[in-house]
């Protein structure tokens, strides 16, 4: 089996997601103030909590779409006709 076959993996999706969320996280301390917000927490901390909850939702969407499909293909190779291809490639 060739190693060079690029799968339509979630890696490209992750690069975009990662850049978006990392940029957002780094702008939070610059954009949000330090005054008490929800539950008396600093405004930037509340924003960071919200961003992580949104990130968790993004991970969940990723798991439901890309990762579950890849996992199913690996766990049950006959299901989609492919064999044990990991994220972005084949096996050793």
């Amino acid at each position: 089996m060739s190693e060079s076959t690029p799968a339509p993996s979630g890696r490209a999706v992750w690069v975009v997601v990662l850049l978006l969320f990392s940029t957002a996280a780094l702008t939070i301390p610059l954009l949000f103030g330090s005054g008490p917000g929800i539950a008396g927490l600093p405004g930037w901390a509340v924003a960071l909590v919200v961003l992580q909850l949104v990130f968790a939702a993004a991970v969940w969407l990723f798991v439901r779409s890309f990762w579950t499909r890849e996992s199913a293909a690996f766990d049950d190779p006959d299901r989609d006709g492919s064999s044990h291809s990991g994220p972005g490639g084949g096996r050793a």
Partner: protein, 483 residues
Amino acid sequence: MSLTTIILLILGFYLLLTLLLGLRGTRAGSGAADEYFLAGRSIGPLVMFFTLVATNFSAFFFLGFAGKAYHVGYAFYGVMSFGTALVAVTLYLVGDRAWRLGKSTGAISPAELIGGRLNSRALRLLVLAVMLIFTLPYLALQPIGAGLLLERLTGIPYFYGAAGLTVIIVMYVYVGGMRSVAWTDVLQGALMFALIIVAVVVIAQEFGGIGPANEAVFAHRPQMFDAFGADGSLGIERWAALMLLWPLAVPMFPHMFMRFFTMRSARSMHLAAVSYPLVTALLFLMPVMIGVWGGEIFPDLVGKEADSILPMMVTQFSSDLLSALVMVGALAAFMSTMDSQLLAMSTMLTRDVYIEHVRPGAGMNEQVLVGRVLVPVLAALGLLIAVLEPAGIFDIVTAAFSGLAALFPAAMAALYTPWIRPGWCIASIVAGESIVIGHATNLLPDAWLFGSEPIAGIVIAGGLICVIGALRGRAAGAHRGSR
């Protein structure tokens, strides 16, 4: 009944429960190497989540977070939380891939997979050496912390407390291996999370709620709310550096990497990936809040004294029973990291040294026996280091995250581009570790490293070497499939 007696009773009950749970692991085992070192590659989603977080979050989560927040304020939440949430990404990029390759090749240790992937004994030895160098002092740190905590709480002399906990850990790791470690992680992880939430609720009540507690702090010390730290020490470049450091370093700890091999199916990591950002978003706030509030009650703590702020606050505001329970949570955090480190190092020495260099033909039973014998040996070594506290041990621990992150580019290259020549991966690791050493010894100025952390330099230098190596390898037709 005194607080000490209550703590001892609850501690005794907890340790007995841990031991029984750990020893139960052996009955499910078959005695094969896969079973002992990797729980038969049969860990499901819920146990995988708990074993990852309990292993990842050492006592530093429980005590250190509060201690740091006491000094720098809420900014500590900022630099710790989102970067750790990004571990969800590396669970996919490294964990999922490592599991698949581990399953198809039969690899048991991280160095075995990475070195074996490129068919290089030198690379395997180098990965092993880096992992051991940065994990052994970390292992010694656990009995040091646990012994000090026990001494402060119960009066049990430091060495006896550290040795007692170590003996219990050795017993269940020796007998049950990874299955025991994973099952006790469930108990220890659940205890950590439940007790930190209870501690926040109880302490907040004394201030009239979480909102009034924060408003009281803001009224007296508004600098504790500054996003860049009360003392300005956590600037945006530190945010960026630590956001990069955690997701790259965490999967390179051998006790975390080995978790990837233990999954029952490819789906076993999905729950952990989704849960990581939830845990960091909400639970990381808890000890930080206690640390920030602690300054209102105990305003004069200096340096490391603040690491006791969480137990001090709990003791101040709650019943003896709850105080004792929270302390058990802290001990659970120590134990869940130490047992995993012991097993990971025993596994690596068995597979990467004994089988590779001493007795290549050793059978499965012999491997398990060697692994078991190494558990008490390594535990004794950790205790010895804890007692002697040799010069430089804390410097190595401080550099551990950067030192292990230096493996990341090479590990990714080995996992995804098997046509790369191993020399490029070795060069990448050597370059990364040189930067770590240069930073630790102040030979490399911060300006050369794009900030006060060496991680950016590691990623740029190590990553560039691997990218060039992968491109050259592909161009030269060094792809293993074409050879």
